[in-house]
């Protein structure tokens, strides 16, 4: 853990809601170190998922600075952000977000294809194998259980060997046993790839597996506790 892979400085986010502009993030600053496993926690509405979206370039910050791997994300356009994600990031969502018209194998191969990889399908098949779904490659998401879909989503997130792995409550839609299986897989994959993992979670036992936990409240950092992992 030497250099920061991400730097956030005075980050704010305001969104236009039904009741007018709502301030979601009110000035967030912290660094994320390379190889770190960072848990983002907080009550519902605290802004943790929104923060993760901004860190992934999926949402544009209203003000402040954010850089990843030495690149300033703030001035990047939508396509430049997409390219940056393609080359450097993997994202896992609570609701899996697989493309329903693509098979499991095609979903996993997608980021590699977008990156122009020659052996996209070979590598995707290996990755599916790694999450225990080697025999389900030709199945569509609608033909799979929630746990299986999330395993496909995990394979898709790591297949491009991203340097940063973002996960937004990846077990939120799963039962306890399946959730645990998925988390084991997530941490295994992180260990295998050496990626920096930034994880949004409600679950304290999951947070306990992180090197560092940042707790948010009302759009602000309430605590930044490296020691949680040691407890």
């Amino acid at each position: 853990m030497t250099d920061p892979v991400m730097r956030l400085k005075d980050l704010t986010l305001s969104l236009d809601g039904n009741a007018g502009m709502v301030e979601i993030l009110k000035g967030i600053s912290f660094d994320v170190m390379q190889g770190e496993t960072l848990g983002l926690t907080g009550a519902s509405g605290s802004g943790k998922s929104s923060l993760l979206m901004v860190m992934g370039g999926l949402e544009r910050a209203s003000s402040g600075l954010i850089s990843a791997l030495g690149h300033d994300l703030t001035p990047m356009g939508e396509d430049a952000l997409a390219r940056f994600r393609r080359d450097n990031m993997g994202v896992v969502f609570q609701s899996f977000h697989l493309i329903p018209t693509m098979t499991a194998l095609e979903n996993v191969a997608l980021p590699l294809e977008l990156a122009g990889e020659a052996d996209a399908f070979g590598r995707a098949a290996t990755e599916l194998e790694a999450v225990g779904l080697g025999d389900r490659g030709n199945h569509y998401p609608s033909q799979m259980s929630g746990g299986e879909q999330q395993r496909v989503a995990l394979a898709r997130a790591v297949v491009g060997r991203p340097k940063i792995l973002l996960a937004d409550e990846p077990t939120g839609n799963l039962d306890a046993a399946t959730g645990e299986l998925v988390m084991d897989l997530l941490f295994d994959l992180r260990d295998r790839t050496g990626a920096t993992l930034i994880l949004v979670t409600h679950a304290s036992e999951l947070a306990a597996r992180c090197d560092r936990v940042i707790q948010l409240r009302d759009g602000l950092v309430l605590s930044d506790n490296v020691a949680v992992a040691a407890q």
């Binding site: 998922s49 929104s50 979206m53 992934g56 999926l58 949402e59 544009r60 939508e78 396509d79 997409a82 390219r83 940056f84 994600r85 393609r86 080359d87 994202v91 969502f93 609570q94 609701s95 977000h97 697989l98 493309i99 329903p100 018209t101 693509m102 098979t103 095609e106 997608l110 980021p111 294809e113 977008l114 990156a115 122009g116 996209a120 399908f121 030709n138 569509y140 609608s142 898709r156 937004d168 409550e169 939120g172």
Partner: protein, 835 residues
């Protein structure tokens, strides 16, 4: 109020949002059929109410080749005031210029009804009287322009001179006569007497128009006419059906257009069905909740049947309103563009007919998904609540759907009166439907396979994957667009081939001129003078009389042969001694050369088979008022498609030689020399009439073009419905595309990549729909040309390219219409909303 109705009403509180495709599809289909019926009703009413004006009298008796005998004239006068009109084709000459014209020789009583419109506006009597002792003529303005004529110029008809007194803008009875090759020239019949045009054997008709007293029994008079005129080949028409040709044409064309309208309703049915399916899918949770609270499958079915029924009724009412109102709104345009009087009004029958079709189509296309809704169980609440309706409905609903389909086809057959055409059309629509569904499934399988095996073509592979995926988009797009395009493709192929056969191929094989009214003593010098020209390659001639087949084996021909064209009116009849060169006898034996025994007939083989005639049958033919009964002793091959000489009936020479007659000749010549041939011929023989085949072909082409245009408009209405379904499908898929776009962008796809993915899949679907439509259109065109028209078929490349391009453009444009949101929306918003 029943529980089902109460529940349905509560459900409908949500409003009609999401139902615009349902309503538009149904309303448009019903509106098209209602509008066609309303226009048809308006024309029929116009023809009935203006029957006497169109006909030129309350009664018209037409005689061929002759004037009425005194007893016949007395019979006409017993009915009321009589006007006599002589009608024939001739050449109007002005200096060296000559043009074909339809001469109308009127007496002083013409017209009995309506007025003749002339420019300058002078009384008709003055116009026909002429000036300076030269009789006058009123000439169609088109013909005047063609010959460069002005009022006051001199023209010739036969050997008589006339002075042009006015342009003939409109004759009140001009729309009843049907198809005519030459524009009219109106002169006084007295002035024609010395023209040399009405000598024995000349082809002319006399029309006796009679203005009857108000309370006159037309039916009784028609019956009495049989006693006086039967067997003379007369034709009776009265004001009750003043223009039977037009009535029949309007009836056929509108019945055909209704069938095209039904295709539109079938296309709309795809949209209706998809809308109901989507609605039920969105209500899966509600239905599951109802089931969990104890509602039976039957109750759920009734709840949604009532809702769909209310919406269908609304769509049908909207369609009836549009279909009834639109023709009225466009009344002035319709009246100006149709050659017949129209009486526009809202009529119950066409609206009721359209409502019936709409109701049956709505029931047919909604019952299936409604039946499927019975399968939704309470357990659906706990898993997969968005899965929608699936599986087969109960057998009872399948039987009901089949019964509705049969009722729909039965109603169309009964109401259109075209049973075979309806059955063919229904079969065609169903075959196209099945073909399109199968093609859509096939293309999905192929796309899936290609998506798995194509490596390296990223965008194409994504698009193929989407087309081959589990969504129903491919089917909805291919079927809805494909059906409309199929109709358009079929019309395009048939129209092009017909016109190509007539205007393209025919002039190469057909003669340059048909020359009629050649007197027996003129034939030889005419042939000699023509043969002296290098440009003339062939001359054929035959004696020609006109006669009516009045009896077959002693029975009234019309009773035996029904409506067959051969017995419907007077036909050209020839005679020959030896077998003419090039004649192929298919059965029986030709009378020997110099045969002078009992009259014999050689009959056209194909027409004989259609009429059920056999060798040895006897035919009575009325020629110039005289009945000749002859035995059929042989059948001949007669090819009418080359434009050469062809006679259904040929008799032995001795039977007809003595009757006054003329000759008909065909001249095959180089196109460049055609004007000179006409000029020289008309100068030497002013009484003969030459019909330029190219002009006739152009005239036929124009008529065909008009019919094809009417059908194309009908097909376009179908295509508009298809377009609505397409837009509806694209709109329904927008949410999925927004989501897909967000995921793709999250994984690193640029907006250009997302857009090209969406565009390419639209192109693939459009290409499939266009390709299948083209196949269907080519198959239909081939069938019609080869089996019905009995001619060759070629694929019309222009029409084919239009269909394919149209299919691609339609899907691409609708796809792009709904692409901006997936491109513009930030991924985080979409993905968070789904969490």
């Amino acid at each position: 109020m029943s529980l089902a109705w109460r529940t349905a009403r509560r459900e409908l509180r949500g409003g009609l949002r999401g139902f615009w495709v349902f309503l538009a599809c149904l309303a448009l289909g019903v509106a098209a059929i209602a509008a066609i019926g309303t226009v048809r009703g308006a024309i029929e009413a116009g023809l009935t109410e203006q029957g006497a004006v169109i006909l030129g009298g309350d009664v018209e008796v037409q005689l061929t080749y002759r004037y009425a005998e005194p007893n016949e004239r007395a019979f006409f006068e017993s009915m009321g005031e009589v006007s006599e009109l002589v009608d024939f084709r001739s050449m109007l000459a002005s200096g060296d210029e000559r043009a074909l014209t339809q001469v109308k020789g009127a007496d002083e009583f013409y017209p009995l009804y309506g007025t003749v419109k002339l420019t300058p506006e002078i009384p008709l009597a003055d116009a026909l009287a002429g000036r300076d002792g030269i009789p006058g003529a009123a000439i169609d303005p088109v013909l005047m322009a063609r010959l460069g004529l002005d009022v006051g110029d001199r023209v010739q008809l036969g050997v008589s001179e006339f002075v042009v007194m006015a342009a003939l803008d409109r004759m009140p009875d001009s729309s009843g006569g049907g198809f005519s090759l030459g524009p009219p020239t109106l002169v006084s019949s007295a002035a024609l007497a010395t023209s040399g045009l009405l000598i024995p054997g000349t082809l002319f008709e006399t029309e006796y128009r009679i203005k009857t007293p108000e309370a006159f029994d037309l039916e009784l008079a028609k019956f009495q006419a049989i006693t006086v005129l039967d067997g003379t080949g007369y034709r009776w028409r009265d004001r009750r059906n003043g223009a039977p040709g037009i009535s029949r044409f309007v009836e056929r064309l509108s019945a055909f257009l209704v069938l095209v309208g039904l295709t539109g309703l079938a296309v709309g049915g795809v949209g209706v069905s998809a809308a109901v399916r989507a609605y039920l899918a969105s209500k899966t949770e509600v239905i599951a909740t109802l089931r969990s609270l104890g509602a039976s499958g039957g109750l759920v079915f009734r709840v949604y049947l009532l809702q769909v029924g209310v919406l269908a009724a609304l769509g049908i009412v909207m369609g009836l309103f549009l279909g009834g109102i639109l023709p009225l709104a466009f009344g002035p345009i319709l009246e100006a563009s149709l050659p017949v009087p129209v009486e526009l009004a809202i009529r119950v029958r066409p609206l009721a007919e359209a409502a019936l079709y709409g109701s049956l189509a709505a029931a047919l296309f909604t019952l299936w998904p409604l039946g499927q809704s019975e399968h939704i169980r309470a357990a659906t609440l706990f898993r997969d609540a968005q899965s929608g309706v699936k599986g087969w409905p109960r057998p009872i609903w399948i039987i009901v759907c089949a019964a509705i389909l049969a009722a729909l086809i039965g109603a169309a057959a009964w109401l259109s009166g075209l049973v075979m055409l309806t059955l063919w059309a229904a079969g065609g629509i169903m075959a196209a439907f099945v073909l399109l569904v199968l093609a859509a499934l096939g293309i999905q399988v192929l796309a899936r396979w290609l998506a798995r095996h194509l490596r390296g073509f990223r965008t194409l592979r994504f698009a193929l994957g989407a087309v081959g995926g589990p969504s129903r988009e491919a089917q909805a797009v291919v079927v809805s667009l494909g059906l409309g395009l199929s109709v358009l493709a079929a019309v395009g192929q048939i129209d092009w081939n017909l016109r190509n056969a007539i205007a393209g191929d025919l002039p190469d094989i057909a003669p340059s001129y048909f020359v009629v009214d050649v007197q027996p003593d003129q034939l030889e010098p005419l042939v000699v003078s023509l043969e002296a020209r290098d440009s003339v390659s062939k001359i054929e001639s035959a004696p020609m009389l006109r006669g009516v087949i009045t009896q077959i084996n002693g029975q009234r021909a019309l009773d035996v042969a029904g409506d067959h064209w051969v017995v419907r009116g007077d036909r050209g009849i020839t005679y020959a001694d030896a077998v003419p060169a090039g004649t192929t006898i298919t059965a029986g034996q030709w009378w020997g050369e110099g045969y002078e025994g009992e009259p014999q007939i050689s009959f056209a083989a194909e027409e004989a088979a259609e009429l059920g005639l056999r060798l040895g049958d006897s035919l009575t033919v009325n020629i110039l008022g005289r009945d000749i009964t002859a035995t059929i002793t042989s059948f001949r091959e007669v090819n009418f498609s080359t434009g050469g000489l062809g006679f259904v009936v040929s008799m032995n020479a001795a039977a007809l030689r003595g009757a006054p007659h003329t000759h008909i000749a065909t001249i095959y010549a180089e196109e460049a020399d055609e004007p000179a041939i006409l000029r020289d011929m008309a100068k030497a023989y002013p009484n003969i009439t030459a019909i330029r085949v190219r002009d006739a072909i152009n005239r036929v082409s124009e008529v065909l073009e008009g019919i094809a245009a009417a059908i194309t408009y009908g097909a376009l209405a179908t295509l508009v419905t298809g377009g609505i379904v397409l837009i509806g499908t694209a709109a329904a898929g927008e949410k999925a595309r927004v989501y897909e776009g967000a995921v793709l962008k999250t994984l690193g796809a640029s907006r250009a990549a997302v857009l090209s993915n969406f565009a390419l899949r639209s192109v693939l679907l459009g290409l499939t729909a266009g390709g299948i439509a083209l196949l269907a259109g080519v198959a239909a065109g081939w069938g019609v040309m080869v089996f019905v028209m009995e001619t060759e078929f070629q694929v019309a490349i222009g029409s084919a390219a239009t269909i394919i391009t149209g299919g691609i453009l339609a899907t691409l444009l609708t796809g792009l219409m709904f692409a901006w949101r997936p491109l513009a929306t930030r991924p985080a918003r979409v993905l968070r909303a789904r969490e």
